[in-house]
Symmetry: C2
Subunit: 190 residues, 2 copies
């Protein structure tokens, strides 16, 4: 998505540890014009795929999922992160390791809102190591839901996690796919 | 807002402790048609007020703020909750007590994204005791930003917190304002 790549080139900041800071327009301060366009692009990519629900994870996936949900006319469900392992039978739950905080989280959704009838599109802001995404896929599997595919705002292709998922048969679309990045250059997958 | 009140009457569940469960359409599973209408209603209420930024707090305020931001054409900034008090000089920070989790949080936004030039509309899903809202107002004060007003999806009027803010001169608009609620009846402010 051209506007997304241009925005990353203009405002993204590459920090040590393969961190791409996009807080100025994506995951803290949100450019809502770009956000609406992202939602429309995701709707376009998955048009006619029979999606009944978008699933994301709090917090920075929510705005993108909401924009896509509005554009597609489907509800958005967000999984919650809990530090405690104290979950009961009313939820689907999986453990996700956060490299940012070096901690394990329980990621949960209520069983009331995800079922075997659902055709689910996963949406998130970043795909780096893919751990959060695999957690969401696990929640869908537990519910017996059908995975339609994945839409990611920014994929860090150089980790290999996205291509690994594709090799496993998951349809995965990124609005911006970064092949490599450094202080002085960000190269997108063509 | 008629659609919001009707949805609460149809799907809201009143639980002990003055809890109103609206996870089926608002703060876990999100009805995106209603969400878009909420965004348009907030845009309508604050039309011509010169808003330059919407400020909300993670996680359940984000979708509503995003819908309002898209409808108004202004950026959305969300404050993050941290348990640690380890904040540095690059952020505005305030402490908010959560009654739900009986814990204090540091609520922070980067100084890069909020300034004295901003005219800020605060958006959140619930107004109960008003603690989160007062935290966001404090962040605006620290930045020297101008407070345009507040838009809340559901106000629990019976706590008095909303009317207290109004008495202090804050413009506060609720899409649904609940005067009283119990197992068998939810009464809206007329």
């Amino acid at each position: 998505m051209k506007q997304m790549e241009e925005k990353i080139l203009r405002e993204g900041v590459v920090l040590p540890g393969d961190i791409l800071k996009v807080g100025s327009f994506l995951n803290q301060n949100i450019d809502t014009q770009l956000l609406a366009e992202m939602g429309q692009e995701i709707a376009h990519l998955y048009e006619g795929c029979g999606t009944t629900k978008i699933l994301t994870i709090e917090a920075s996936g929510i705005a993108i999922a909401a924009a896509a949900g509005i554009a597609m006319g489907v509800p958005v469900l967000f999984a919650k992160k809990h530090k405690s392992s104290n979950v009961d039978g009313s939820v689907y739950s999986t453990i996700v390791h956060s490299f940012t905080h070096n901690e394990d989280y329980n990621v949960v959704v209520s069983k009331d809102y995800l079922s075997a009838d659902d055709h689910v599109l996963l949406v998130d802001d970043f795909l780096a190591n893919g751990k959060a995404l695999r957690g969401l896929i696990d929640l869908c599997d537990q519910a017996g839901a059908t995975l339609v595919g994945v839409a990611i705002a920014i994929e860090k292709c150089f980790t290999g996690a996205g291509d690994q998922l594709r090799a496993e048969g998951v349809r995965l679309e990124s609005l911006a796919a970064i092949e490599s990045m450094s202080d002085d250059a960000i190269v997108f997958r063509s």
